[in-house]
Every structure is written in structure tokens, then in C-alpha cells.
């Protein structure tokens, strides 16, 4: 019986004018565009320089800043106010003001200061930019310090798993998760309720099909769609960005299949409780946005306050993003991921049980 029901679901999806296109085109479009957009790399921050000193020292400092990959000295301004107008027009992000007699004071008293004003409206770019710029200035002076007192402790740094600090490598696995969640969450959420709206659910309700079988027949097509989408995005990630999982592909598919069950289960639960597609869509959106925001996709979970970390703890997407990033970048095995796997398995079981229980054959 299950076989025929699944056949029916696939026919319903394939004969829809819009869905098969969406399932194929949406992932491709997202994978082509989004890794380029989701980029918090700090580079090419535009600096306006107000040089009131015009000495050898100030020129040296400006050259040092310009030579860094983080900054471009975009404009020279006559005065601070002039530079402030540039910030207001969005032409530059940071103002570096060098006071008069800077070189002389530096030589004489060793404590002349430059002023850095950051346009802090742009969160990361502003904060990081300001910090980097002070660092570069400190480096400039410690490099000039001839007494040799500065570098007593030598700090050697080593970056593992993503040595080139490529932001795309970090975002691609997370964007894959987002895609999978959106497609395998929204489509099931609209499914049962669309049968309710169309009235075809009545026909199912008068058949001897058990609830369990019915829910399964709704789940399995999305599970298979999940696999198709996943395969497309893995291939695209490999071809376009040269990013492929360091860990085993089998582990990857195994865990992804559990995750698809989680989101599809959630979608079916919402579908069961909704009377119209509009309702289902909005409830799903509501949960989706919270899930995406609280998943550590855009900002690290560790930076959240404690109550928010608790919410993140009951967010299945957060665990899967962790799994994806660990598999893709670190090549972690199943044993490193037990915590996340347990969480996902629990979510999958809970949501799908709930979906079966909440589905009522009586009106």
C-alpha cells in the first residue's frame, strides 16, 4: 500500500508545474550566488586620512596601512569635518587623523597619538576594522623600536582546518544546511494542508490506510528529494568552490538523511495543525527564521547570552550546521559527533511521532 501512496506523492510533485523546477533550480541558484554574498571577510576597508603633520613619519604610517590587505587609503581629507562628510556619504568606513607635530612629539615624548574614528553602524566591518587598524599602527611602531625590548615573547600562530582562512569554506556547508532546511521543511508543511484545502484528504480518510503509513508516504518523497538536492549541492560545491568534505561521504549522507527527517517531520506537524496553506506557511516561516538565526549560521552561538544559547540548544539546525562544518573542514568521524547525532536522532523521532499522532482521520 505504501508503494502506491509514494507513487501518488511523486506524481503529484512531478505533475506540478512549479515544484520540480524549484527543486532543481533553487539549489543551483543559491549555490552559485550565496557563498559569494555570505562573506564577512574583512578586507578593503576604506580609510580617509587627515594628515595634519605631513612628515616622513606620518607618510610612512599611511603607506604601511595602505600596504595591508585589510585597508585601502581611499581619500585624503583636508580636515576632520571634511572626512566626516565622506563617512556620512558612505564613501569611507574609517577616519585616521594624524595630529600636528606628530613626528616631533613622537620622537620627544614617545606618546603622540593618532585618532581613529570608525563608522560603527556597520557591525563587523566597523569593529574589526578599528581593531585591525590599531594593531597595524602598534606593529608599525614596534617595528621601529630599536631597543629590541619589544619581541621578548615570540607568538607563533598556526591555523588548523582552514589555513587559508577562506570564508567560503566556512559558509558553504552552512548554506547547504539552509537549503536543505528550506526545501525539505516548506514543501511537507504545505503538503497535507494542501490536500485539506483541495478536499482530497477526505478520500484518504475513508480508506483503510493507517496513520503511520500515510505519514510515511508523505515523508519518504521529501527524503528522496533531500538526497537529490544534497547530491546537487555537493557536486556544485566541489566544482565551483573546490570544497569537498574531508570526512567520509557515507557519514555525510547518513547524517543528512537523519536531518531531512527532522525538518520534514516538523513540516508535517505544522501541516497537520493548519487549516489553510497560508497559516502553514506563516507558522513555518516563524520557526524557520528563528531556527536560521539561532543556528550559528551568521553569528557564533558562543557569542550569544546564556538564555539564547539555551534556545539554540533546542534548535536542530544548529546541530546539523556543526556536523556539516566539522565534516567538511575537520573531517571528524562519527565518534566526534555523538552529541550532535544523539540530538538529531531525538528530534527526528519526536517530530515524526508527533506528526503521526497529530494526524486525525476524523474531522
Amino acid at each position: 500500500m505504501l508503494k502506491y501512496l509514494i507513487e501518488k506523492e511523486f506524481k503529484a510533485i512531478m505533475r506540478n508545474k512549479f515544484l520540480p523546477k524549484l527543486i532543481l533550480v533553487f539549489p543551483v541558484m543559491m549555490m552559485l550566488l550565496m557563498p559569494w554574498a555570505a562573506n564577512l571577510d574583512i578586507k578593503d576597508i576604506k580609510v580617509a586620512v587627515v594628515d595634519n603633520d605631513r612628515s616622513q613619519l606620518s607618510t610612512g604610517l599611511v603607506n604601511k596601512i595602505n600596504s595591508s590587505t585589510y585597508f585601502i587609503v581611499e581619500r585624503y581629507a583636508k580636515s576632520y569635518n571634511d572626512a566626516k562628510t565622506m563617512v556620512q556619504n558612505g564613501e569611507v568606513d574609517i577616519i585616521l587623523e594624524i595630529p600636528e607635530n606628530y613626528e616631533k612629539d613622537q620622537v620627544r615624548e614617545k606618546n603622540a597619538k593618532v585618532n581613529i574614528s570608525v563608522n560603527a553602524v556597520n557591525g563587523t566591518r566597523g569593529a574589526m576594522g578599528g581593531a585591525y587598524l590599531s594593531n597595524i599602527i602598534s606593529e608599525f611602531f614596534s617595528g621601529r623600536n630599536v631597543s629590541g625590548q619589544t619581541a621578548l615573547i615570540n607568538v607563533a600562530t598556526q591555523t588548523r582546518y582552514n589555513p587559508t582562512m577562506d570564508y567560503k569554506k566556512f559558509m558553504v556547508p552552512a548554506l547547504m544546511t539552509m537549503l536543505l532546511t528550506l526545501l525539505c521543511g516548506f514543501l511537507p508543511a504545505l503538503n497535507i494542508v494542501s490536500e485539506k484545502e483541495a478536499g482530497t484528504i477526505e478520500q484518504i480518510n475513508v480508506t483503510p490506510i493507517p496513520k503511520f503509513t500515510f505519514i510515511f508516504s508523505k515523508l519518504i518523497p521529501y527524503w528522496i528529494i533531500g538526497f537529490i538536492v544534497l547530491t546537487i549541492v555537493i557536486l556544485l560545491a566541489k566544482i565551483i568552490y573546490g570544497v569537498s568534505p574531508v570526512g567520509s561521504l557515507a557519514t555525510f549522507y547518513l547524517l543528512a538523511s537523519v536531518f531531512v527527517l527532522v525538518v520534514s517531520g516538523l513540516g508535517l506537524v505544522i501541516s497537520n495543525y493548519s487549516n489553510t496553506m497560508q497559516q502553514a506557511m506563516f507558522v513555518m516561516f516563524f520557526f524557520m527564521l528563528i531556527m536560521i538565526m539561532m543556528a550559528g549560521l551568521f553569528t557564533p552561538v558562543d557569542s550569544m547570552p546564556e538564555w539564547a544559547q539555551l534556545i539554540a540548544g533546542i534548535n536542530p539546525m544548529r546541530y546539523f550546521i556543526e556536523i556539516m562544518r566539522m565534516l567538511y573542514l575537520k573531517g571528524s568521524g562519527l565518534s566526534d559527533l555523538t552529541r550532535q547525532i544523539t540530538a538529531l536522532a531525538l528530534f527526528a523521532a519526536a517530530f515524526n511521532l508527533w506528526a503521526i499522532i497529530s494526524y486525525r482521520k476524523k474531522n
Binding site: 582552514n162 566556512f170 506563516f282 557569542s303
Partner: protein, 365 residues
Amino acid sequence: MRQFLTFVKKEFMHIFRDPRTILILLLMPAIQIILFGFALSNEVKNIDIAIYDQSHDVASRMVIRKIGESPYFNLVASIDNMNDANKLLQSGKAKVVVIFESNLYNKILHEGRGDVQVITDGTDPNTSNAVTRYVQVIIAEAQQGLTNNYMPVNAELSMLYNPQMKSSYSFVPGVMGMILMLICAMMTSISIVREKEVGTMEVLLVSPMKPIYIILSKAVPYFTLSLVNLTTVLLLSVFLLDVPISGSLFWLIIVSVIFILVALSIGLLISTLVDTQVAAMLISGLVFMMPVMLLSGMIFPVENMPFILRAIAQFIPAKWYILAVKKLMIQGLPVKYVLTEVSVLVGMAVVFTTISLKKFRIRLA
């Protein structure tokens, strides 16, 4: 006019008789603003750190004490071999391991040079960068303490417009753009397409009302609802998140209303393009939400993107709206600084409305 009002009333009833949707429509903005404002932060903190101290002397202890005191770090383990360090990093239990070579203090005193190794988990490049910087600063401070050789402060940093560096300052304009877009575009398109799908559109079209008024009456309730949401968001951000409205409230509202009109016209456009609710929802939801989140500069700076994406971003209304809100609300600039943004938004509203009115078919196929 009375006819028109009757139609508007009908649309309002559609909304009010579905309590779940209305609840979500009103709650979603509030919850998002709170989550964004309080929970999300770009600042890197609470980093799990592990220490491998081979030295156990004054120098290493001093650094370790400073790390323990730092609000950025969370000391999770002291280990005594490299194997453990690898395991901690691999399993993600520590984001950074600091390794002190043996006899560190002696080497500093006699050879004038000691080595400390910092291994970071580079999965997240920004976190890893920040962590490295934090550790370097802590070690530099410890070194000053050890040698009594204070380094002069070279630069004074001031944060314009956002002195406390709150993330909510940059997120609030983004959330406003996203919520208004989502609600207006999606709701309008769904409610029109729904009438097509259910078949009641035919009934409306044979009524003596002009088709344009039918469409307008669909837009009025969602316009009102968006104004309610706008008020909620502004009140919450001012009184709960302490994000000030530094500029003129009047112009902020005007710009928002223009943006709402753009979103409504996009909703109309979608409704003329598709025939089923599912398609309308998925287009307005997936095809609009993702780009708005990613390309509008709400989270990721547009300046960082390659040329093609920057070009695409110019066509995203939310991008212009967010820019204008940042300038008006956070930076407190006078309205002449947002003229470009405003005219682009007005232009978009005109273009979208014209296209959708042209495409709106009075006759059903």
C-alpha cells in the same frame, strides 16, 4: 467610494477571522527584533581555550592568569600532551590551544626570546582571527608586566554613531527591511492568488467595481498591518534595545511608507505572474527572503561582494531601505543624505506597480 470601503472591510475580515495568522503576523516582528537585538552578536567571546603548559613558571602562569580573567575566554582544559590538544581541537571542545615551551621565563631572561605557540581552529576565519589577536594582546600585556617596559598607546579609537558597539544598531534596520518585505509582498500576493485558486476572483471581477479598486482593496489591510508592525519594531528598538532614533522620525516614517509601497507592488507583481498559492508563497518566501537576508547588507556587507552580486544587490529594494534607515535612524543624518535611496525606492514602486497593473488580467483564461 462606499463600495471600495466595503471591499476593504471584506479583506480585513479575511485577516481577522484567521487568528493564528494574525497572531504570527504581529508577533513575528517583535520576536525577531528581540532575538536579533539581544541574542545575535558579531563580537567574538566565550571562546573555549585549552592550555598546554610545559613551563610552569612565572611567565606562563602570568599569561594563564590573564587568560582566565579575560571575558573573552573560557578555560576548558589544562593538558599535558599534544595528542590531547589535537583531540580537543578535532572534537570542537576547544577553539584554541596555547602551548608554552618549557623554561619560558628563563629563556626570556637569558636568551631574550621565548616561544609561545597558538593553534586556532580556523573553521570560522573571523573567530580564529579575533582569537589570535586576543591572545597576542594578552601576551603583550603579560610581557610588559614582566619587564616593566610599558608600550605607549599609539592610537585612540572612537566609534562614531554607535559608541558601545552594540550589534543591535546594525541589525535593527535589517530586520525592519526583512519584516516589512516579507509581510507585504507575501501576504498581498497570497491573498490575490488565493481568490484565483478558490475561484472567487471571478465573482469579484464581475462586480461593478473597477478591477484596479479590487486590487487596491487587497493592498489596504496589509498596508495597515505593516504600519502596525513598523510601530512595534520602532517602539521595541527604542525602549527595549536602546537603539535611538537620532534623525527625524518624520522622514524615517515617510521612507518606511515608501518601502512598504514597494513591497506591496512586488506582491501585486507576483500575484499576476503565478496561479497557485504554493507558487506565490514559495516565490515570495524563498526567492525573496534569501536574497533579502544575504544581499541587502543586513548581515553581510555589500562592499565585500564580487561585482556581479553588487550589481544584483542594487535591484533589491531592501538594500536601499536599510541604507536609508541606517543613515536616518542610527547616524541621524538630515534627509538630503538619503535622496538617492528615496528616489530609487520611489522609482521601483512606480515601475512594479505599472508592470503589475499592465499584466493584471480582467478576463480569466
